[in-house]
Amino acid sequence: MVLNSIEKLIEKYDNGETTLQEEQQLKNYFSKETVAPHLEVYKSMFQYFSQSHEEQFTKEVPLTPRKTIKLYKWISVAAVAVLMFGIYIQTSGPTEVERREALLAYNQTMEVFNLVSSKLNQGSESMNALNMVSTNFTRGADNIAYLGEFSKTTDKFLKTN
């Protein structure tokens, strides 16, 4: 390539007006062993540019950090579901039919109890009559005690005679 055209390109290059193709031309020129001495500076520039273009990113990138987060999310959802189910079970009582049956059973037992208690009251009334008898009986016994006392005195009386 003619040095003249390279110099023109260099001037355009310095002004930031070259196209990518023209820059490629310059790159090719400066990759040669020998260049014009006054353009030596550009050689190291272009060499540096193509050298740094070679550099690569070699580190591994772990691309699955999302999965574990997702798993935790589902676990928490499941836990909440279980909790809600437990609360539901506790709050929701027996059904309508069950409630009616329970009421029926309650009423029946209450009837039986009432019956028993009324009978029991009758029994206790007859017990009252017995009580009366026993009080009269003790009263009778007291009178007998009087009689005993009376007989003692009559005995004494008879002895002195």
């Binding site: 310095d14 002004n15 930031g16 990518l20 030596e40 540019f49 550099e55 990113f57 580190k59």
Partner: protein, 169 residues
């Protein structure tokens, strides 16, 4: 989107992301971390990836913003990103050493350029993007890009000429 699909989309430009990150952050490790971060962000948003017209340009913009944020936070903490990218100096040929040295100078000079010029030089001269693509990535108009590019190239050349003529080597 499966992992294979994602890798097919990302593979072609992951090196470019890494190189841009390294250009801005200088340190190899920092750049690797940044690239990893950006790929993970893309992966987490993989459902939306199909909606983007140009995933590559989008990723480059993301990289630029991410690295600039990182630099800003480091500056705020009064910390500097230190790099330890030691070069293998076991090249026997004297000529190769000299050449390497002057090529290294380019990288050192580029470190001192303003961030914007760094990014534009990286995208244009190293990654060889079109001006229209760069303007999309950086949200700048093409004239402004050309101006910044020209300034960057001139500074680079002037500083290199200086080191050459003073024989700093």
């Amino acid at each position: 989107m499966t992992q294979a699909d994602f890798l097919n989309i990302v593979m072609p430009f992951k090196d470019k992301v890494f190189r841009l990150a390294k250009r801005l952050l200088v340190s190899q490790e920092e750049a690797e971390d940044a690239t990893q971060e950006i790929l993970l962000k893309l992966w987490n948003n993989r459902a939306k990836i199909q909606e983007y017209k140009n995933v590559e340009a989008f990723s480059m913009t993301m990289t630029k913003n991410f690295c600039l944020d990182k630099l800003k936070s480091k500056h705020a903490q009064n910390l500097k990103i230190v790099h330890s990218n030691y070069q293998d100096k076991n090249v026997s040929l004297q000529k190769q050493v000299e050449l390497n040295d002057s090529v290294n100078w380019v990288s050192r000079i580029m470190e001192d350029l303003p961030e914007q010029q760094k990014i534009i030089l990286q995208l244009r001269d190293i990654e060889q993007y079109d001006f229209s693509e760069i303007s999309k990535m950086l949200d700048m108009n093409e004239t402004a890009i050309r101006v910044a590019l020209s300034r960057g190239r001139k500074t680079l050349r002037e500083k290199l000429t200086k080191t050459h003529s003073y024989g700093v080597k």
